[in-house]
């Protein structure tokens, strides 16, 4: 019992550090200021850009990431495969931005070729989508491949004995069983994409209505128009809370 009290006290500072700033943030602006900020064009454009790009990114993550997750789940003991997929997620986002420029930039590997076919990636919404996909995909892939690995082989074998086709096997057995992990992966990746900042700033620039996402707009408004920055932050916080709730709901509990 005594130990429990001790851990309560020792755990408190970090808990406060994590929570108090968020509460402080919400109390720093009046409701009228916030309402005015919500109706500003700047905020609405940023929400529009963020919603569009991160939904596109999450689509890319699912379409491109699922095959990779399946491939990873078939090599559960291969360290280097997991390592390669995890790497982008732990890189500082600014490094991700420079790396993307090195490939898709004007002077990058693919830049000149893309330019000749009339495609220039930097400074476009596509650059935002690429940046978000790059940093968010590993979160989905990791969660999805773990979920796929977790599907009981006896059930798969049983379905095959019962004559399930390949399609039926995936459609009615594997995907439904892995669904909680897939959903959690999508939610985590979406949360990451919504908040992406560093890679976007370097690779896509910051153009209102084009590439200026909420995270970038917050940074630019933080000094001069606090109410707008805070209103934008609250939008991101609420989205993050919703996504975390989804993760908690669908995540298989181990108890």
């Amino acid at each position: 019992m005594k130990h429990r009290h001790l851990i309560d006290i020792v755990a408190l500072p970090m808990l406060l550090l994590l929570i108090v700033p968020l509460i402080g943030l919400s109390s720093r602006s009046s409701l009228t200021d916030l309402w005015q900020a919500v109706s500003s064009q700047e905020l609405q454009q940023a929400v529009w850009v963020t919603a569009n790009t991160s939904l596109m990114a999450i689509l890319c993550v699912i379409v491109g990431g699922t095959p990779l997750a399946v491939w990873l789940s078939r090599h559960p003991n291969s360290r280097w495969r997991t390592f390669l997929v995890d790497l982008p997620a732990v890189l500082p986002p600014a490094v991700a931005g420079l790396a993307l420029l090195a490939v898709f930039g004007r002077t990058g590997w693919l830049g000149p070729t893309l330019t000749t076919v009339g495609w220039q990636v930097p400074f476009t919404p596509l650059a935002v989508v690429l940046a978000q996909t790059f940093v968010a995909a590993p979160l989905y892939i990791r969660s999805a491949s773990a979920a796929l690995q977790g599907v009981d082989h006896d059930i798969i074998n049983a379905a095959m004995v019962d004559g399930a086709s390949r399609y039926e096997l995936w459609r009615f057995v594997i995907v439904p069983l892995a669904m909680p992990g897939l959903q959690a992966g999508v939610a985590m990746a979406l949360a990451r994409a919504l908040g992406e900042f560093g890679a976007t700033a370097l690779f896509a620039g910051s153009m209102p209505g084009q590439t200026r996402t909420l995270a970038l707009a917050i940074y630019i408004n933080a000094d001069y128009d606090n109410a707008t920055a805070i209103a934008m932050s609250l939008i991101l916080i609420v989205s993050a809370v919703v996504l975390l709730l989804i993760v908690k709901r669908v995540e298989p509990t181990h108890s």
Binding site: L101, P122, G205, S206, M207, A222, D223, Y224
Partner: protein, 260 residues
């Protein structure tokens, strides 16, 4: 509120501990100046501090170089600095409004001109080229001084380049960056063709790295750098403050691309 000040106290205590740990011992003074300076003042302030320290031996100054508005906010929130040097009067006015200093404390240090920069391989070689279709122009956002100055300069240029000049240039703008250094970085890396920055930003860069296209004086914009000594500054800050405004500092300002 109480909790907040506690957090700040532990933060500044940590900062102080780091400062004392990093500062080498010297015969005269044991601490360097603590300067909050606009991003574009970083190099010149370092040079000025080095020159001052030659006459009055002391450790090198600790510089906090960031956007002027962000620095003003930090000072209002209680950060301790000896001097605040801002890239425009708006950020300085915030500190005056917060009653930390008075308007009489504010002095003009120097001015800088706005200049158009282009990547050496870009087709932009003169001011008129900024309107060419397909050119990628990067400006600072209008929330920072460099962005406001740039917009004013472009507007002034309609007098020579036609009424549509601003509209056409703005149509080529692909990004409005959070600070002027990001503008320069995007042009220097070649991702953008051209941008508008301070002369001071490119003072030390060769033509091979960046192509500079001056804006004629009559259409240009003068960025005014202002500074003030903050309350509870170190005892000899006054001497340093006088030095950076004095005649022996002028060559250093000019060398870094400012007018003084």
């Amino acid at each position: 509120m109480h909790r907040r000040s506690l957090f700040m106290m532990s933060g500044s205590a940590l900062g102080l501990a780091l400062l004392t740990a990093c500062t080498p011992m010297s015969t005269a003074v044991t601490t360097g100046f603590n300067l909050a300076v606009a991003a574009s003042l970083k190099d010149v302030m370092q040079a000025l501090d080095a020159a001052f320290s030659q006459q009055n031996p002391r450790p090198a100054a600790v510089l906090q170089a960031a956007g002027s508005g962000a620095l003003a906010q930090q000072i209002i929130d209680g950060a301790r600095f000896d001097v605040f040097a801002s890239a425009d009067r708006i950020a300085m006015a915030k500190v005056v409004d917060a009653k930390i200093i008075t308007a009489a404390d504010v002095v003009t240090l120097a001015t800088a001109d706005m200049i158009v920069v282009a990547h050496p391989k870009s087709t932009v070689t003169q001011l008129a080229d900024l309107t060419k279709p397909g050119i990628k122009v990067v400006l600072a956002d209008s929330t920072v001084p460099a962005g406001r100055y740039a917009q004013t300069a472009l507007t002034n240029l309609t007098a020579v380049h036609g009424a549509d000049y601003v509209t056409q240039v703005n149509a080529n703008v692909v990004s409005r960056e959070a600070n002027v250094r990001a503008v320069l970085q995007k042009v220097q890396s070649g991702e953008a063709d051209a941008g508008v920055v301070y002369t001071a930003d490119i003072a030390k860069l060769s033509d091979k790295i960046i192509r500079s296209i001056p804006i004629p004086n009559e259409y240009g914009v003068k960025a005014e750098y202002v500074a003030a000594i903050l309350p509870r500054a170190q005892a000899d800050t006054q001497a340093f403050f006088a030095f950076i405004q004095g005649s022996s500092a002028i060559p250093i300002w000019r060398d870094c691309g400012f007018r003084a």
